[in-house]
Amino acid sequence: MKMCKSADARLESYIASKNVETSFNRVEHQKIKCGFGQQGVCCRLCSNGPCRITPQSPKGVCGATADTIVGRNFLRAVASGAACYLHVVETTARNLKTVGERKGKIKGESTLDDLASLFEIEENDIHDRAIKVADRVLSDLYKPRNEKMELVEKMAYGPRFDKWKELNILPGGAKSEVFDAVVKTSTNLSSDPIDMLLHSLNLGISTGLYGLTLTNLLNDVMLGEPVIRMAPVGFKVIDEDYINIMITGHQHSVISHLQDRLIDEDIKKLAQGVGAKGFKLVGCTCVGQDLQLRGEHYQEVFSGHAGNNFTSEAIISTGAIDLIVSEFNCTLPGIEPIADEFMVDMICLDDVAKKANSEYINFTMDKDAEISEYIINKGFENYKNRRKKIAIDIPKDHGHDDVITGVSEKSLKAFLGNTWKPLIDLIAKGKIKGVAGVVGCSNLTAMGHDVFTVELTKELIKRDIIVLSAGCSSGGLENVGLMSPKAAEEAGDNLKAVCQALKIPPVLNFGPCLAIGRLEIVATELAEALNIDIPQLPLVLSAPQWLEEQALADGAFGLALGLPLHLAIPPFITGSKVVTETLTNSLKDITGGQLILEEDVKRAADRLEAIVLDRRKALGLEVEVGEIA
């Protein structure tokens, strides 16, 4: 079977050795793309269409121009992406509320206290405090569009809040904003690309502050705060001696009961009864990244993170997975036939991620114990039935043992001595030239699986720009060794020396895509420490291998924060001059952000580095002679 390349050579050779069709094979048969789709100028909003913009037919039947069609398509995509993350934070807040109501375990009391104090909640009882924090989040999400969300001002950096207010992009109730974005982009409604771009930024703000940041923090309360530690990654973490449950999704609190229950003595005994050593959760997709991030609290039950979204198919084909539990994306449809072939049952806990062959159980936190028992029993039965019939083939030479994980805004600051000063000093002295967030998804089309992400990251660290990563990009970067301390060798001399002195890798692992919110807290705190606004920082973002609508909503947050954002594949906008010009150029004078579209690794690194150097110069920091033309 023909297949695409991966930055992860061992993964590529493993997939090539199996006679199992995966995304790596299918992408070869989807190489011919529709040019109208790529440029975003196909409109399917009415029965006069589909209309496509060509030089000979510059308007749709209704009169919509390329600018209108692209604006509508883009806002719809951002609205869908925002909806996904808002669904995640809604579930998370509801779960926290239930934990509070039933006086359940609070693992991250200090984060709860921080949130309560930020939200000005005075409540002595820890569980009531959790309920009130959750309620404040939910009440904002459920507000109508004409009522502004109250936590935005408390969460956002002051100068940014003022900027958003000035631009009139402060979000009303987040779900209502998504709703009206759908209305706005329907047939013969808005035709104004600029209004639709501003609406996208508005959705970016609720995605970033609620969908990302608050999801992380509420999870910290329920699941425990990240602690920096060393961990193994890759297929080597899969241990066939256990009953293995692979989780896919983003709503980590949904499995919080399960992950504690799996290591209870009676459950271990149950597993031992069929010859297994116990149960393990095998990390895959962002829920695996998040378990890895909080690995300090889950040392026994979590076997480690095996790989990112497009690794999930290959993980099932090892034969060592006994059950798949999914609660959100990235649960690829491609895993279904593989799960069937390898006799792996699938259970879905949230119907937004319902797979055609999965059994659906409607998860609610008040039924978590009952649902855990069901899952455990299913895993047990599957193990018993399938293991004698399925060959196990785990590439134990895949992965690394020394990945630095558990990096968060709090743990990193603690590592630096509870102050950002050491990092700021290193930047000021030029030992670290700047900071790049290389974040987001993994795709198979920007040069292959993780190829652009890995190559760009190598280019940046070579130029002494430290890289922070969150999302499936992290899954790829850690599996090729760039998140291990030994990767310091690949950095430029200055960054290498810093990494070796601190015993850290040049690429820091913040975990799941949700943790892009943590990176943005780091950006905010750095700006705060320097008393400047975010667009002045020598900090750039790249989501080189963005995949999905959620990534576009994340990106809209980055642009609202005023950060430069690079994408290797354009987000279906280039057919509109107004949209492209606004996002890639005029936005610099609006929020300070800018979209950078660049399909070549070196040129992308050049442009990001040039921005870092410009920012350094503007801050009066040393720039080596010859660095700026």
Binding site: I32, C34, G35, P55, E599
Partner: protein, 148 residues
């Protein structure tokens, strides 16, 4: 010679062959993102028409054995290479009489939209191994094959 063959039943009117043609003849670059879809100087040398049953039909230069365009050309701009089979057009020799446009039995030739001075004519992507329209066709409707 190799000709572009059309299996009409497979055409879905996606226009990817037309886009491919525009991209290949775009002086600003050969990628989809180099193509300005609002610039009328970007034109395909092929198009999709609807037949009498309203079924989409790619209209592609056949590089005819008996090329009417060449026979009607009075300035010598159209020539047939008997070795390669290709009917070539030399815009420097063209007097813009457009007899070729009127004579083409397939209706594939047309004057350029900007200046109405030259004829837009397939050159088989100037030696490209697989013509861009064929490469861009997602259904297999267009194929490169030996003439029977």
């Amino acid at each position: 010679m190799n000709r572009i063959k059309v299996n009409r039943d497979l055409c879905m009117a996606c226009l990817n062959c037309v886009l491919g043609c525009m991209i290949e003849h775009n002086e600003k670059g050969k990628g989809i993102y180099d193509l300005d879809l609002e610039d009328i100087s970007n034109e395909g040398r092929n198009h999709i028409g609807l037949d009498k049953n309203k079924c989409p039909t790619p209209i592609i230069c056949r590089h005819c054995e008996e090329p009417e365009c060449m026979y009607t050309c009075m300035s010598g701009a159209m020539t047939k290479d008997r070795d390669t089979g290709m009917v070539a057009y030399d815009e420097k020799k063209c007097s813009s009489c457009f007899m070729c446009v009127m004579a083409c039995p397939y209706g594939v030739l047309k004057a350029d939209a900007v200046d109405r001075k030259v004829v837009l004519k397939c050159n088989m992507c100037n030696g490209r191994e697989i013509p861009r329209c064929v490469e861009n066709c997602p259904t297999g409707c267009l194929e490169l094959g030996e003439e029977e």
